[in-house]
């Protein structure tokens, strides 16, 4: 891949570019979906693409193609389009040494085939049904794949990395007088997931939802489980918190954290870190999408804002260093793409602090709720942080114990303010992929005081 990249970089220089950069992405994946207690679709696919950036007369142009034989055409398009850009003092980055990342490439996954996948699907379904035979695993699945990428630029950057992934999920329903649902999923870069746990936990959540009651409208303690922080249609951490840390938004005064470096912006009991080098991190790789080595970035330390995240373009604009936060993706896309320009994105966003066991976290709550799923995180106002989400998978806590499931409630507030009222975090860390962004969140349950719950 590096060789292909080098030849295209040279071609671009020959055709008139002053600098050039080539990003090549290759991948394949297989998924076995679950539909109503049985296998649904067995699908697989292959992807390959090349994204080419050129700098000519100080202006950047970009184009993409899906075949090496179309690279020349793409280079010419990129050069033509560069005329529209603004002349800038921007240059592609210099090469820097990268370090291998742990637990992101598992060779055993390369040997998985459809029979193995189907076995896992059966395990998920059987373990759910063993909790209660009337449960339906309505959807879910098991999937796995691998991808590799290369970045080559005219300054000498030559980065290559590869990784694997595997996931399992189950969404369960029980209609028995009342309708209750449950779910569980696990995503990992290496095969260390236990699929029968997935089925079992989803089914147990479904069972725990029976005899749901209403709740009165008031402010109370809310335990946001990791599932609410990132997910299928976006989560609170992913949609509201992460973008507020992006350098461009911060410098252009579009973020509530603009101008607040050095100030206390969250509870002092926590730190917020973005780490592209996190072992088994869903977005971990030796480097970001521009070839900048991945590293651990402390965004908030003990409540105090340390700085923001940058890619090379925004770093150069605001006189900072790139934090290795460049990801090639479209605005609301949940997967990376060779068709996109690099932009700043949190890679593996995590929260650290003094951890407590979940039952300990619950035992200190006089009155509150623990929430497993939220609808509408993506309809929040990301600029202000105001949110109002609906949940029908939540439980009432009274005097330190979970007393009953709640039928439905709306939970609202300002999430940036909520982070200031974090009174504890759990030890139930979960790896989550983003639903409306490429951001991955690695977080435990977060307990927040005084949140409006509307019944």
């Amino acid at each position: 891949m590096i060789e292909i990249g080098k030849s295209i970089v040279e071609l671009a220089l020959k055709l008139g570019a002053e600098e050039s950069e080539v990003f090549i992405l290759k991948g394949s994946g297989t998924g076995l979906s679950i539909e109503k207690n049985s296998v649904g679709y067995a699908s697989s696919g292959i992807e390959f693409g090349i994204g080419i950036r050129v700098i000519k007369e100080g202006r950047v142009g970009f184009a993409f193609c899906t075949k090496v034989s179309n690279a020349e055409k793409a280079v010419r398009e990129a050069l033509a389009v560069s005329k529209l850009g603004r002349k800038r003092e921007y240059s592609f980055p210099e090469p820097k040494p990268v370090r291998k990342i742990d637990a992101i490439y598992d060779e055993s996954i390369l040997k998985f085939d459809s029979d193995f996948g189907l076995e896992k699907v059966s395990e998920i379904i059987d373990s759910a049904l063993s909790v209660n035979k009337d449960i339906t695993v309505s959807s879910g699945g098991f999937g796995f794949g691998e991808s590799s990428f290369a970045i080559v630029n005219s300054k000498g950057v030559e980065v290559f990395d590869r990784g694997t992934y595997v996931y399992g999920s189950a969404y369960t329903v029980l209609r028995n007088g009342e309708t209750t649902t449950g779910f569980e999923f696990e995503t990992s870069r290496i095969f260390n997931i236990n699929v029968s746990e997935i089925g079992r936990r989803a089914a147990e959540m479904t069972m725990k939802g029976r005899d749901a009651k209403n709740v009165e409208t008031k402010d109370m303690t809310v335990l946001f489980t990791p599932y609410t922080l990132a997910g299928e249609v976006g989560g609170l951490f992913e949609f509201i918190t992460a973008p507020a840390f992006y350098g461009e938004a911060a410098h252009k005064k579009e973020s509530v954290y603009s101008g607040k470096v050095g100030e206390c912006v969250t509870s002092e009991s926590i730190s917020i870190i973005d780490d592209g080098s996190l072992p088994n991190g869903l977005n971990s790789a030796v480097a970001d999408d521009e070839g900048i080595p991945s590293k651990r970035v402390e965004i908030v330390k003990d409540g105090v804002l340390q700085g923001f995240l940058y890619d090379t373009a925004t770093a150069s604009e605001y006189n900072k260093e790139s934090t290795g936060s460049a990801v090639r993706c479209e605005r609301w896309a949940s997967t990376r793409s060779f068709k996109s320009l690099p932009t700043t994105r949190s890679r593996n966003l995590t929260i650290e602090g003094e951890k407590q066991r979940l039952d300990e976290l619950i035992s200190d709550v006089r009155e509150g709720v623990i929430v497993y799923e939220v609808l509408g995180a993506h309809t929040s106002n990301p600029a202000s942080g105001d949110f109002s989400v609906n949940s029908s998978l939540l439980f009432k806590i009274e005097n330190g114990e979970i007393v009953h499931p709640i039928k439905q409630a709306m939970i609202s507030g300002n999430f940036h303010e909520c982070l200031k009222r974090i009174s504890g975090i759990g030890d139930d860390y979960k790896r989550l992929s983003g639903g409306l962004s490429t951001v991955s969140v690695f977080a435990p349950t977060i307990r927040i005081e005084k949140v409006r719950v509307t019944g």
Binding site: A42, S43, G45, A63, L84, K339, T379, N381
Partner: protein, 460 residues
Amino acid sequence: MEQKIIDKCIDMGAEYCDIRIERKVGTSIEVKDRELKKAIPGEEEGASIRVLYKGAWGFHSTNEISEERLNEALERAFKLAKASSEKVKDRVKLGDVKVVSASIVWKPKIDPKDISIEEKHELLADMDKAIHEIKEIHTVTTGYGDSTIEKKFFSSEGSEISSKVTRTFAQVNLIAKENGKITDFRARVGGTSGFEIFKIYSPIEKGVEAAQSAVRVLRAKHSPSGRFPVIADPDLTGVFIHEALGHCTEADLVIAGDSILEGKIGERIGAEIVTIYDDPTIENAFGSYPFDDEGVRGQKKVLVENGILKNFIHSRESAFKLAMHPNGGARAESYAVHPHVRMSNTMLEPGEHTFEELVEDIKFGVYAKGSRGGQVDTAKGSFQFSALEAFLIENGEITKPLKDVALSGATLEILSQIDAIGKTQEFGTPGFCGKGGQLVPVGDGGPHIRIKEAIVGGMQ
């Protein structure tokens, strides 16, 4: 070439197979605060094959269109289907459809291919300029996108369909600030059409309107929370119908036990004045298409008629399973993924009231406009969606501006709570609907509606 591969597949023992080939050409441009952020011409292509073997599906996609790759795809898809067939519990059968030979081109009146990238950039620059004239506007990000997708569909039943469809849109995301308060706002115009759509819906006008609304929201009070009457504008009505009802009528969810509407065809699920349909044949609407990705002609489906649930949106297999007729509802985001049951343009039929008549009966309630989107739990039939801006209604009059109004409720209750519907149907904002990790362009809309009681979540 495709016919050879299909014949081979049937010889191998498959009962059905289809091949989809796609070529997409488009342009994507983004301008932020007068600066061009990106101008990306793009071309992609790929092919995929679906194989049905002993009632089990196998699917493989590749991004190289060649006989070699298609043969490889066939081997892989067949292997997946065969392996699956040993485990599948409900064997898939496909509902009958006509064998079709067709070539459809939905020719745009002003083809985006004939508009230079400089001109497209200028459109965004003009939007940016006009919006920035409003002083409270802090950041403006405008985007333009067009795509022309050529699809070819071949099935083992003998269908051969080619189509060429163009979509064009322009959008704005802006941030307004004043006195320490900050809010974002958004708007989009577009359609299954060429540049001519901008003559019907002006991006500059829409952008300026969005900016004016954003300023109102900055100065607005937080919405009260609780249960009260709500009037939704056509934009929000569209999202509401899509989330609260539309997804629950997707037959694949019904069959999987994942829809509250299971077994309810023929039952009353809403007020008598409520009629909802899904229609991919509406000219220029963002969710329109000539044929779905199973080679079935796109057609109008009345989902709810006078409050009675009449139909679901179907794929061929869901139609067979529920002993209903296939109605062309199977869509895939691209060749790279297999089709699911999806909506197209989901609309509420107009009623008889004027807007004033809807408002005058409300003592204390909310008038909610525009949408940030929504989400639904189809199994439980609970949904949530948020408005972009809102107003308080007090004693039959629209009074104070409100902000961050979110509504939620239960599908089976809310449709019965619609007690009045406006006379004029309008399209809502063109959007993209996500399901199963796939995004497809959709349209929606309706008239103004009055909901007797909804759960409104605010911060007061």
